[in-house]
Symmetry: C2
Subunit: 396 residues, 2 copies
Amino acid sequence: MKRKQLVIGLFGFGNVGQGLCDVLRRVNPDNVRIARACVRNTKKHRDAPVPITDKADDIFNDPEINLIVELIDDADAAYVIVERALRQGIPVVSGNKKMLAYHIMDLIELQRLTGTALLYDASACGSIPVIRNLEEYYDNDLLISVKGILNGSSNFILSKIFNEGMDYSEALSIAQRLGFAESNPTLDVDGWDSLFKLVIITIHAFGVYVRPEEIFTFGIGRMTADDIRFANEKRRRIKLVGCAEKLGDDKLALTVMPQLISKQKYIYSVEDEFNGIVIKGMFYYKQFMFGRGAGGHPTGSSVLSDITAQTYDYRYEYKKLNSGHTPTYTTDFIFRIYYRYTTEGERHLLTFENINESYKSATYNYIVGDICLSELIRNADTLRRAEVFVAAYPAD
Amino acid sequence: MKRKQLVIGLFGFGNVGQGLCDVLRRVNPDNVRIARACVRNTKKHRDAPVPITDKADDIFNDPEINLIVELIDDADAAYVIVERALRQGIPVVSGNKKMLAYHIMDLIELQRLTGTALLYDASACGSIPVIRNLEEYYDNDLLISVKGILNGSSNFILSKIFNEGMDYSEALSIAQRLGFAESNPTLDVDGWDSLFKLVIITIHAFGVYVRPEEIFTFGIGRMTADDIRFANEKRRRIKLVGCAEKLGDDKLALTVMPQLISKQKYIYSVEDEFNGIVIKGMFYYKQFMFGRGAGGHPTGSSVLSDITAQTYDYRYEYKKLNSGHTPTYTTDFIFRIYYRYTTEGERHLLTFENINESYKSATYNYIVGDICLSELIRNADTLRRAEVFVAAYPAD
């Protein structure tokens, strides 16, 4: 097979861009070369191993460049780059999950119109090849659910809490010191990063696109010592889980929220900064994929896999999206939650279908009960602002 | 994308053939249909949901049939079928690992000559999409090792022993009663099934073919209560592991043998009839894939994934085999083993490079020492016939 020679224009030279350069230097493929990197501040990258520019045109006007690799943080700027590249007929590899979560449908259409490929396996779960597996391997009709720990930073914090008995703020500051969490950790601990990944995964798993703001998203930032004790007493751990789950043959529910996970579940044992995904099928029961979900080298390595795929003109075919029989997103889904609250006002914020446990004391009140997902979505903004904690409480 | 209509000629209607029919009935794809099944004994399959024949020509001469699915036990007969199909230009899906382990190089050449595809993801690790992942995703130069529990039957037996304190024969008979082991369990417990899978995996992981008889293969059939106690005392479990491991940049060592696995390793927790594969890469550390490795429905589901891939003319490209820079198989590899023996003759059968522990008593003798793989291969036949047990003893 004849492989294409790739000359790359790289946007962004942060952690992942540097990781990609390290991986490329070691692998040293004879058909892949970075021609130039475009960064915001050229002074910061004086020692970069490739020519540096701060003008996008230097890349877009270089006739040699036949692949754009976009690894910048800013989702809006990333969209501008990716759209321009596709319109110019230059294939793109992107790792920008937020940009993809909001613009994926436009970008799928643009790929179709221009016949130009956009690959983004690196955007979800770093080194775990989850998107390409869902796209290529798991047949739509057999898939029942895809659930996983999609964010390494929050999982690192939760591991410290449940394995080493730390409290939340102590665990967070260690995660920040070790580089597993940003100084502003909102994106990770409040579930947004997991949400963006779930949106992308759901396209490839079930052929369904749901806008991020339509999905109930709740993080671990409000978790207190009471919640941790509750989990420990029930012999469970709190994990931040992104979940896409078929209900019957034609409905699909999506959530990003803490879950009280019992020991029997695979994701119970996903520790530290790792990611793990459980794919449940009708006939093969469960599969579990596990690996490093973040970091410059694992993600750089995943970006290189997308680059390599471009040497033989691989494209996502969006088979499930195009299959014509996809489930419909529903919020009419009743499931059990643990709800910890402080005031009576908060108590009556949520209408439960059924209350299984109700506990009150001077300092700590909770309800375990069944609630409709639409009820949580209706109150999502209020819940996120209040001194409450919500976690799914699945059966053992 | 336009999908091809597939009309299948099925060879074999055992456990997996039946599983495939069940999966197809449930999924009900509108572009896949089994036209006819060819079996040895038509009387046995009177109630099959498809027309039955005992003449291969009924399939090969049916002009409607454009895919052969081969799911028979007999490796020689399977080869005849697969070769004939490819020569006739009919693509094939096969699950016959023994046939593939011996004939894969001929069949790769035949695919090239005829331009006709042969897919066999179902042949290794049932429902885990390991072959296609190695082929499509993991870039050759980054892979360091692929290790795994490749046989569900022997793992089921080992789980019963180490979790429930059963002895070997008790665990074997339960495995047989539950259908996880054959009445003649040699293929599973002596490592041959794992060996065939390892040969196939190694082609796709490293682009290297090694004939099965050149690979050191030792099973769990000779394991005694002493070996089990030794493992427990060292806080390890014995697992039957297939292993392909790069040594430096250009050498590759392969083994199929019991390993004393410590708790920190992912495969320590692979229980019962499950399979688990750890893929180690230079930059992403480790990935772990886990799932049902056997059984009619999981394997039938994997066969269906290969069938679905044929609807869009997917082919393995053998990228690593064709890459021109593959490592060389070596047996010049020193590693630590546990060697339990009975007689002095057995003691001196093996020449160790270095002996770390040596224990003798009236009934139980062992050595823990470093040995060259070539020394084990030289004595493999004798070891398999003697009252000894050999297990790799990797560092923690």
